[in-house]
């Protein structure tokens, strides 16, 4: 009956152009309960992404945690949650790398992992060097997958235990191998650490901010790579000595003309262009992350307890801080009983959550990572439900929902 109403109302009476493709700002789609996560709100969850086939992926873990877990929400309903691959103990989950037709890729510890949207299975890519058999660590991975009819690939820095310096490689994500590699620096440079990574899907480039020691000096630089893993730009970054490895919040994101920005853990904004990298102070808000949405870049955060946004212009200058109405509306939509679709196993069942709230932060959409462009003016967000004690640990029920979003 609903379908018939849509058919008549949407497409026959008002014409095809009037068929709405996305949700209204703050509006919720079907809320799908996928599992219980250890901890209380805010939970250590990376904002979900989706592939072209419509499968949704939820990643548990943060840079401090050396554990990871993935839930795959299949496009036709049902969830799979078997993937927990992470390697190394020096860092936790870095985030999503990207997605293709029916796969997603994440980077956790030193592992690059492929997750299948079809069956929920996962596989660590380049766990070992195909030539030497040595275990490989991914020191840096560009958070973008270039997907073409010919291949799916990204660029990364990999290192085995025997290497002093990492190698800059192009990774073929379908085949699971690297196709070009080069030493990242000259002899005498040691103690390489990566501070942050970013990617510009329009210019098809990646940005790595890194540090090394040379002649007892600590040197921080930012490097732009193309997708063949060729260095396009390598510039100095000043005033970064105090930052630890992987200290950027979320990913670095492009602004315009090849310029990147990133939010350091101390709240400063790093701007990198061909002149080099320098830090600026963010004014008028407590920043939570830098988002890229529809060819524009925003600082998101809070001010006086409200979600706010400040757009960055082409030269990365901060514009007016404004209240993020979509987040406020979404917050309001959660201040009520919420109908849940529990499709952890099929057939799905209905349930109601009495006190839902945003699972990963105080306000919906406000977080370190850019939002997934799930549909027109729609993203995916995580909603926390009831929490309970199990085995001496607090666990929280979490659901995924499409949510309408616009930036001011």
């Amino acid at each position: 009956m609903t379908t018939l109403r849509r058919l008549l109302g949407c497409c026959l009476l008002t014409g095809l152009a009037a068929c709405q493709d996305g949700l209204a700002p703050g509006e919720l789609g079907i809320v799908r309960y996928f599992g219980n996560v250890g901890g209380e709100v805010p939970l250590a969850l990376v904002p979900p992404i989706s592939d072209r086939a419509g499968n949704a992926y939820v990643l548990y873990g943060d840079p401090e945690e050396t554990e990871a877990a993935v839930w795959v929400g299949h496009a036709g309903g049902g969830w799979t949650s078997s993937c927990k691959v992470i390697s190394g103990t020096s860092s936790g989950v870095h985030g999503w790398v990207g997605r293709t037709q029916d796969r997603a890729y994440y980077w956790a510890g030193g592992a690059l992992v492929r997750v299948s949207g079809r069956n929920g299975g996962c596989k660590q890519i380049l766990k070992r060097d195909p030539s030497s058999g040595a275990a490989l660590d991914f020191l840096a991975v560009a958070p973008w997958v270039e997907e073409t009819p010919s291949r799916a690939r990204t660029v990364a820095w990999v290192r085995s235990a025997a290497d002093v310096r990492p190698f800059q490689v192009e990774v073929d994500l379908e085949v699971g191998t690297y196709t070009s590699s080069a030493d990242v620096g000259a002899d005498g440079r040691t103690d390489y650490e990566v501070l942050g990574v970013g990617a510009d899907s329009e210019r098809r480039t990646a940005m790595f901010v890194f540090r090394y020691r040379e002649d007892e000096q600590l040197i921080t630089r930012a490097r732009v790579l193309d997708m063949d893993a060729e260095t396009q730009l390598d510039v100095s970054v000043v005033d970064a000595d105090e930052l630890a490895a992987y200290s950027f919040v979320g990913n670095l994101v492009p602004v315009a003309d090849g310029r990147f920005v990133g939010l350091a853990s101390d709240g400063r904004l790093l701007v990198v262009d061909s002149d080099g990298g320098r830090f600026r102070q963010i004014k008028g808000m407590a920043p939570a992350g830098i988002h890229r949405w529809r060819d524009a870049t925003f600082i998101v955060g809070t001010k006086e307890g409200k979600p706010v946004v400040s757009k960055l212009d082409e030269s990365a200058e901060q514009r007016k801080v404004t209240v993020w109405e979509a987040s406020v509306t979404a917050d309001a939509a959660l201040q009520t009983e919420l109908a849940i679709r529990d499709d952890r196993s099929l057939p799905s069942r209905s349930a109601t959550w009495l006190s839902p709230r945003s699972a990963t932060g105080k306000h919906p959409f406000v977080g370190p990572f850019s939002l997934d462009s799930y549909a027109t003016d729609t993203t995916l967000w995580l909603i926390a439900g009831p929490d309970f004690e199990a085995g001496g640990e607090t666990r929280t029920a979490v659901a995924l929902a499409p949510m309408g979003v616009v930036y001011p």
């Binding site: 996305g22 789609g29 989706s50 036709g76 049902g78 293709t100 009819p149 462009s373």
Partner: protein, 436 residues
């Protein structure tokens, strides 16, 4: 590779998918121009028209064996026609891995068309395409354990291509009046201009890539059609199973039918059967539109309803033909949405194709053909734009007036430009086709 669909869409028409390369003969010119129709009728007479009813001996033998007598009677008219096509093609994709950068392939296939008239108003039609490499089957599977730890690290499969017969049409038609008819069985859903033509009557060896993106292959269903004032106004409406539409949520089972319709206005008279204007007719102009809706319930693997969906597709076309010149423009739109995902699958595209049939002598004709088109996929969340360019030259060395396209030699260029992914490919085909 996960990007199999776009890959196939791109140059599969040339060599990867033998089903789409190909069949283009026009063995029976059913709805040609009036002048051309006369020519066709004359030409039809000597065609292989076989009555098997005289084989009474075999009929008797069937009876004695207790087998149902399927031998046609004297009233049955059975016409057999067909085509054979052979060619060679290549594709170059500069960004591909070395193995896939250059590809060449020989192609070959045949089509058989059977038409049977039982009584005046009933007719059965079968169009089958025989191809040597249409089905790829898994012939072996092996679990891989590189580390010897008992955990499966991968699966290796072995596949092989097998010959196949594809059914493009198998229908029973009922036409009590020239202006009205009904048809049921396997057929193309005729909601676009291209889908009104069988694959053997196309200007190019394959349908336009934008058209293939929206509907691909035959479906099963029933339709009624009307033809008013000798083709000035034609219309059709039908109900189909929907297998040719594709389904976004592949893991689910749909329950729901497709309702499709199309109207064409041709104020100067109807177009020739198929595309192009080999009979060099008078001026004709056609404006048309088609729509298709499929409301359906989708059931999960446990058998319970997972969600409902609505699939809406529309097409609008403009055509003209005059003295061998043919020009067609078609726009297509698709929106497939479901209540579970809040993510509609939206796409649109268009193409334009033109040909000019030039008669060099009473025996030889030349036909330059060109087609450009584009399609925008995944429009609602991460749009990808793909452009297509095709151009070719067809030579008809035996272009007798009654059947100018009986033998055709074609050289064709195919180009694909994926604007979003910044990748392009180029290919070419040399092919020969004989109608019989």
């Amino acid at each position: 590779m996960s990007f199999a669909l776009p890959r196939l869409c791109a140059f599969a028409l040339a060599f990867v998918s033998t089903a789409s390369l190909s069949a283009e003969a026009a063995p029976v010119n059913e709805a040609a121009e009036p002048a051309a129709q006369e020519a066709s009728k004359d030409q039809r007479t000597p065609r292989p028209s076989v009555s098997l009813a005289e084989d009474s001996e075999r009929a008797d033998r069937s009876k004695s064996l207790g087998v149902a007598d399927l031998s046609p009677s004297d009233d049955v008219k059975l016409a057999l026609s067909g085509y054979v096509q052979a060619g060679i093609g290549f594709r170059y994709r500069g960004e591909a891995v070395p193995r896939d950068r250059w590809e060449t392939a020989f192609t070959g296939q045949a089509g058989l068309l059977f038409k049977a008239s039982v009584v005046e108003v009933f007719r059965a039609t079968v169009h089958t395409i025989l191809t040597s490499r249409a089905l790829e089957a898994v012939t072996g599977v092996e679990a891989l354990d590189f580390e010897g730890d008992g955990a499966i690290d991968g699966i290796e499969t072995r596949t092989k291509r097998f010959p196949a017969s594809l059914l493009e049409r198998a229908t029973i038609a009922y036409r009590p009046l020239p202006e009205f008819g009904a048809e049921a069985g396997v057929m193309l859903i005729p909601f676009t201009v291209q889908l009104q033509s069988p694959s053997f009557a196309l200007m190019f060896p394959s349908r336009a890539a934008p058209s293939e993106t929206f509907v691909s292959g035959s479906d099963v269903g029933a339709m009624i059609d009307s033809d008013v004032a000798e083709g000035i106004l034609t219309a059709s409406a039908g109900v189909y199973q929907g297998e040719s539409l594709g389904l976004t949520l592949e893991a689910l089972s749909p329950r729901g039918v497709v309702i499709a319709g199309r109207v064409d206005l041709q104020p100067f008279g109807r177009f020739q059967f198929g595309e192009g204007d080999p009979f060099r007719g008078p001026f004709r102009l056609g404006v048309g539109g088609g729509a298709l809706v499929r409301p359906a319930s989708l059931y999960d693997k446990t058998g319970y309803e997972a969600t409902s969906m609505l699939d809406v597709r529309a097409a609008a076309s403009l055509r003209l033909a005059y003295q061998g010149l043919y020009l067609g423009i078609e726009y297509l739109y698709r929106r497939q949405s479901d209540e579970l995902s809040s993510r509609p699958l939206v796409a649109h595209g268009a193409y334009s194709q033109a040909s000019l049939f030039l008669r060099l002598s009473t025996q030889v004709a030349l036909e330059p053909v060109a087609r450009v088109g584009f399609v925008v996929l995944d429009q609602a969340f991460d749009a990808r734009t793909v452009g297509f360019t095709e151009a070719g030259l067809s030579l008809y060395p035996a272009a007798q007036a009654d059947r100018p396209d009986r033998f055709r030699l074609t050289l064709q260029y195919l180009g694909e430009r994926r604007f979003t992914e910044n990748e392009e490919a180029h290919g070419g085909i040399a092919s020969a086709r004989v109608l019989f």
